[in-house]
Amino acid sequence: MTDLIQALGSGTLVGLVYAVLGLCIVTIYRASEAFNFAIGEFLVIGSFLFYVLFFDLNLPFLIALPLGLLAAAITGAIVERLTIKPLLGRSPIAMTIVTLGLAFFLRACVQIVFGSHTYSFFLDLPDITLEIGDLLFLSDPIWAGMLSLGTFGLVMVFLFRTRWGLAIRATSEDQAKAMAFGIDARFILLIVWAMSSLCIAVAGIMISNFGALSSMTGIVGLRAIPVVLIGGMDSIGGALVGGIIVGICESLAGAYIEPMGLIGFKDVAPYILLLIVLFIRPYGLFGTVRIERV
């Protein structure tokens, strides 16, 4: 019983980080109907920008974090301007393919600048390790879960409570209509990419803090695929639920199936779950119920 609660708890904490990854995919998918396969590379770039500011330049954490995130957002915006903007109004498939290319290009860039060796990455956050009876939750995952939840909440407030968020939701629905009513769709797309890469950087910093940072840390970005497909490609709430489901699924597999000798099953389990969900609900658990006029 303790094992189960332990697995559920740690799964949820990691799941919240995955939820942020999912959120980044969903916002971009809604705005431009493209799947951002370069998410892992954005994650690495965001983490490295923070690494440079915090570890190399020794800025205090509370200055390095906002600056690093801002730098990540600007990187996202520049990438969007150069690669996605020229494709506005074209097929979303074209944009998706562009992000595939971007993934290779950006990974190579990171390797040229930072090399492909591993950097140690340790944030000296206050220790908030939680120990209740036999249960033990480490400090780092708790920080990661809390910061991810905070990021998620801020993005939700931005999207659903501000006029910029309204403009983003309007543009997400139809770029032509938005432009006809005076919403600059090109600029909105820029904002969405900047926001998305900022959130990815938050997730990246948390994930690097679990272990170390290298140009291959971006593999974690692939976790976003089961997250958004389980939750529904266009559902923000679905990203949260999907993230937690994937996190729990992973830690349950780690706690109960791996000891049976199936080492590495942890990484496969979310995809098996994904298959099952897609068999039953092809749009994902929370995919938009399309408004059909009859």
Partner: protein
């Protein structure tokens, strides 16, 4: 107010849609443009509003002037903000997954200020049925309500001239009548209208002047009362006429073109 001079537009670099159209819209009028499908009416409105880029079309010749200043090739948002030209696209351009109120707020994005709430009340004044729907998703509203919302959204942008693309598309005759009477009221309140319509009779009835467009050219122009009694317009667009019924052969387009030119 708005002058279009010898406008030529092609799509995808090869498909020529407008072949030299010139017209002028005077302040305060309701200009009606009628024509068959594919005549280039929508393309004309897209060109004026700057949306033509989005559809991979190019203005290869001619000019569009709003109050003397050329607006050719400007960004759609710029044209709307700086020159007060608002384009209401065909087929009820509302955001389905936003509520009616959010739709109106989204449309006022470009000029966000303290007066948005007051303007929203004005819109509800013109379209009372929208008030009761304000928290409902626009996608669930009826066709007539959506079209009225679309015009309401256009009002939120404070237009000087409104380009309406087939507002009566798919609406019942009674709703169309109501809609057109509201368009007339808006016009009396000082908004110039450029109205593209298939429902020629209803449109010409509220219009001041009209143009008939065919194959990307203007083939006839005149006061709308004149057009309403014009023999050819009656035959081709109003479905009536003095002559005996024509066979399909005579209604072929090239025959008709010979008649116009």
């Amino acid at each position: 107010m708005l002058a279009i001079e010898n406008l030529r537009v092609v799509y995808h670099d090869v498909i020529s849609v407008l072949n030299g159209i010139s017209m002028d819209v005077q302040a305060g009028e309701v200009l009606v443009i009628i024509g068959a499908n594919g005549a280039g009416k929508t393309t004309l409105l897209r060109s004026v509003s700057g949306m033509i880029d989005f559809y991979d079309g190019d203005i290869i010749d001619g000019d569009i002037k709003m109050e003397g200043a050329s607006i050719k090739g400007l960004d759609a948002t710029d044209i709307m903000k700086r020159y007060g030209v608002t384009y209401v696209m065909e087929d009820r351009p509302v955001f389905w997954y936003l509520t009616v109120e959010e739709n109106l707020e989204a449309a006022s994005f470009s000029r966000w200020d303290k007066r948005v709430k007051a303007d929203m009340e004005d819109v509800f004044g013109y379209f009372p049925m929208l008030r009761s729907l304000r928290h409902k998703r626009a996608g669930y509203a009826s066709g007539g309500e959506q079209q009225m919302l679309a015009i309401g959204m256009a009002l939120m942008t404070k237009p000087k001239i409104m380009l309406l693309d087939e507002p009566s598309l798919g609406l019942a005759p009674l709703i169309t009548e109501e809609l057109f009477s509201i368009i007339q009221r808006l016009n009396q309140s000082g908004i110039t209208m450029m109205l593209v319509e298939q429902n020629a009779h209803a449109a010409l009835n509220i219009g001041t002047r009209g143009y008939v467009v065919e194959m990307g050219r203007i083939v006839l122009e005149g006061d709308s009362q004149e057009l309403l009694v014009n023999e050819d317009v009656r035959e081709f667009y109003l479905g009536s006429g003095e002559k005996e019924r024509k066979s399909y052969k005579d209604a072929k387009r090239y025959k008709r073109r010979k008649r116009w030119l």
